[in-house]
Symmetry: C2
């Protein structure tokens, strides 16, 4: 029997191999007949190599080759020949050579695939691609993405291991906790009516590992959330989870900057600039309207309250009286945008709750628009100044409650940047966001709640404010933002029991409450807890940016569809009645639930 | 505020640091007062450093130190001093120095722990240790084990990445399959009465990845089985899962020998010998009575049917007439074992279904025992010969059905080896076991069933036997055995649809059956499946051997107890009714299932 083991991959051979006898195995990518010869493009994940079958040299083989179906798996033996003058293909790594086949074995014949794999179109219906995921992967782009994701994990682990972090696998069959996102439950057979829960993150485990003295922990950890899916969400996702003892936020930042550097170098050969700039939560909202600003391009939000208050434009002045605010953005070269174009923007922001946009264009040194008349020229000069308006630009103004202004202008800013191609390609702009508030006031519950979680440490300088002015207490939390996406977040944790108790009291939680919810963890905190802090990065999100895709399914081998279904396996599925009986559970539609 | 960030760990300092001002942070391991001075042993995971407090130099600090409770977390600043002549402790890395403390900060006070952490006793009740797992880890041995496990993962990944394998994360929310072990189910909220299942292994996914052209896959993969636990089982466990295309078993063996070499080098600095010897399934059973022989020591099982058939010992000759067999083992120096000792062995094997043991001792060139009289001297010579009996040895015989003889003598052989200390310490003896039968006959179902799974390839040379003599068809499966434990197993898979159909037919499965059970996979096989094969190693089992423990809980950070409970978190637990309502499930003991 022919030995199908390869001497080379389909991406290996070039002129220097001429004359060698080689064995290649792979998939029939294309077959064509030309001038009496049959050519077969043989493909594997590493490349494509051209095979040639000449009926004058071996009629049987030529006939066999002529019957090969696309995507069948074959193995061949043959001799490497340089292609004849003028026939070399410079776009292929192996374009200099072809193989004159002396032996061909059909290892596995393929049916006609449900979509073609030998062209570059990705127009196929996504459901069909998910159903035949293995073919969609074979088509190529997903293979590349899985390789990039692998490299990101390799770089992460190599770096953290080098920094003496220990990877620890924490349980996937965990405990249901009443706060946070909705959880997936796992019924226990041994303990009827009891359930495990799949973890939303290893947060509690990693803090316990710090209490256990592990000192430096990490894990590339599977996490689970039973939420209604959006395009960038999956029921299971992956975190790069890190925790360390006896450190401060600047240490975690420095550490993970090194890690991100290694990831981007490994995967894209891109050198990212460090240290990553830091921006406060307040400045983010003020200047970008969001706590995850995309700083690959300019066009900040500029508050003009102090200028427009002296205008006679009542829409603005009324807003100021109603505790609203007015911010503007300067669209470079935007004076060319038509009235219709502005209407499209207005429609865009109206979906974000903003009633309208005011605008001014500057051309030939003069501002024009229907509202210019309400602004004396000194105010126009001031606006021009603070918004850095040059000839040919346009200002767009939003006037409303501050949160509405921020949300609308944040989205509009990004929309315009995309539309006007202001975002440089292959730019990777990181940002640390700091100084989040520790608490927010929950109108519904009529009490303070934690913005992150109740174990987040307040900023040391603000501990004194907890009693009198809790809403102005900053936390020691930090988010990592890349190109406008939050890719990671973490915080210093509270390690001091007195401070922890004070925070609980401020949150209006009773000791009983705490005990029921998190008793074992509170107990653990009392046996010698070191100062500790950590962070978690979303690996899927990072992989999406590395792979330049905005679809999370493009970076996961076997993703779920939007309704949390695996279309290939048809999962979730009905199960046998005996399985439910053993678990002592019943579904409320049992007649349809069992096979 | 004192900056608790360390300049050194508690395992770093020696005489060369004398005179340096350092900051250390850690746990109060021990405190003692001696000659008016107070000494504190400060501990972190890297070591222990002695702190000294002299009331004559700083009375306040001395007083503070005197109140420190064990396991409290402190941070100190101080100067490194060489210990005075004669006080150095050569058993401690830092035994040459002590720290004269100039500043002490209590970071977190500890309650009295439920068991002492500053001695080497591990006599504590296991339930208590599991409840306070973070303290048990802190005690030290588990920290070391977690580090070894981490190193094993590092070595595995480094090696496989170097061999161009891509790590791919496959879904944890998978599909229920009707064969194999009992599964954990996850009810779907979006699809009432439908369930995901946690995977027993990524088997199907990795085969699909081969069909997708990934070529070389691996994953350190979480796996799940809802079985009644034994000491070496956990509901979740970890596999080093590998699959490759266009290879043969010898390739997988060579590859994974390299991987095992790297793991043992990294974790224990042990060079394991490769290539690993190969033994057939038949030879394993014949010579060791088991398919996972411990070959660290000798004492094979020797079949003596052909010799004893000529004796007049009717217990033996009757067995031979009843299709039983007789095997012996030679216990070196066993002539010293008393009648009582032999009775203990007899009792031992009786629990394994063997009714009795016959024995002969050789002393001063003569055999003695109550059965010697049934054996003419030429038979005794022959026995002596095949069992390599020397003066001072003892033969133990088992006579019964072959499977009973094998099981009893396998266990007895290992029992005696342990008892008589025949097993060299730190020996790592690997073995490949080959040539398993492909099928066995299932009396209950009255049909052939697969010994591994129906996708396992038959041995190429035996394909022709499938029809006439299926029970003699060998499979292309291989197990990896280390020190008597099966640490891995895998096989060549079937990639040819015709052969696959033939196997299904031989198993008496209808096409409908197949379609219902594994339809999507059978369909996938038809779109160009490369020859592929793989293996999975049990990481927990490997870690146990690396850590020299026979308790799987010793190599898992947060294990479940024998009844699948997390005693620390008290999981599984009852959940809120609203959670079950959303999932549209009811427990059959609902009144107790919700909080």
């Amino acid at each position: 029997m022919h030995d199908y083991r390869r001497t080379h991959s389909c991406g290996d051979l070039n002129k220097t191999h001429a004359g060698e006898t080689v064995t290649l195995s792979g998939w029939v990518h294309k077959r064509r007949d030309l001038g009496g010869l049959t050519f077969v493009d043989l493909r594997d994940r590493y490349g494509i190599t051209q095979l040639i079958f000449d009926p004058n040299k071996n009629a049987d083989l030529h006939k066999l080759a002529g019957n090969l179906k696309h995507e069948s798996v074959i193995s061949i033996e043959g001799i490497v020949h340089p292609r004849v003058e003028g026939m070399a293909n410079k776009n292929m790594v192996t374009g200099e050579i072809e193989i004159e086949v002396s032996h061909l074995e059909l290892l596995s014949e393929s049916l006609v695939p449900p979509f073609t794999l030998n062209d570059d179109t990705y127009e196929v219906n996504e459901e069909l691609r998910l159903k035949y995921r293995y073919l969609d992967i074979r088509k190529g782009n997903l293979l590349k993405n899985l390789t990039i994701r692998h490299k990101a994990m390799v770089a992460t682990r190599r770096f953290l291991d080098g920094e003496k972090f220990t990877e620890v696998q924490t349980p996937i069959m965990s405990k249901s906790t009443p706060e946070g996102a909705r959880e997936y439950l796992v019924p226990s057979r041994i303990h009827p009516a009891h359930f495990y829960a799949l973890p939303q993150s290893p947060q509690i485990y990693k803090q316990l590992l710090m209490i256990s003295g592990l000192d430096r922990y990490f894990q590339i950890a599977p996490c689970f959330r039973d939420e209604d899916l959006r395009a960038e969400r999956q029921p299971e996702f992956t975190q790069i989870d890190i925790e360390m003892s006896f450190g401060k936020p600047e240490d975690i930042k420095k550490l993970t900057e090194g890690m991100l550097k290694e990831i981007f170098k490994e995967c894209l050969n891109v050198e990212i600039e460090t240290p990553i700039p830091v921006m406060s939560y307040h400045d983010c909202l003020e200047n970008y309207g969001t706590d995850k600003p995309d700083v690959r391009f300019d066009m900040p939000l500029v508050r003009v309250d102090d200028i427009v208050k002296d205008s006679t434009f009542s829409i603005f002045t009324d807003q100021l009286k109603n505790e609203g605010c007015i911010k503007g953005i300067c669209v470079k070269g935007g004076a060319e945008i038509s009235r219709k174009g502005i209407d499209v923007y207005t429609e865009f922001v109206s979906r974000l709750g903003l009633k309208g946009l005011a605008w001014m264009k500057k051309q030939n040194g003069e501002f024009s628009s229907s509202i210019v008349k309400f602004f004396p020229s000194e105010l126009l000069d001031k606006l021009s100044n603070v918004l850095h308006v040059e000839d040919g630009d346009m200002i767009l103004f939003a006037a409303a409650k501050e949160s509405v202004v921020n949300q609308a202008l944040d989205h509009l800013r990004r929309h315009i940047a995309k539309e006007r191609k202001l975002i440089p390609e292959n730019a990777y702009k990181f940002l640390w966001v700091n100084d989040f508030p520790l608490f927010e006031f929950d109108e519904e519950e009529n009490r303070l709640t934690s913005i992150h979680h109740p174990f987040t440490s307040p900023h040391f300088d603000d501990i004194k404010l907890i009693d009198e002015d809790p809403l102005n207490v900053r936390s020691d939390a930090y988010d990592c933002v890349l190109n406008g996406f939050e890719i990671g977040g973490g915080s210093q944790r509270i390690h001091n029991q007195e401070l922890q108790k004070k925070i609980f009291k401020t949150l209006n939680l009773s000791e009983d409450d705490i005990k029921t919810r998190m008793g074992f963890f509170i107990e653990a905190l009392q046996y010698g807890t070191p100062p500790h802090l950590g962070i978690a990065f979303g690996l899927d999100r990072i992989a999406m940016i590395l792979c330049n895709t905005d679809n999370i399914k493009d970076v996961i081998a076997f993703p779920k569809s939007l309704n949390a279904t695996d279309l290939m396996m048809q999962s979730p599925s009905m199960v046998e009645k005996v399985q439910l009986d053993e678990l002592k559970i019943k579904t409320l539609a049992e007649e349809i639930s069992v096979i």
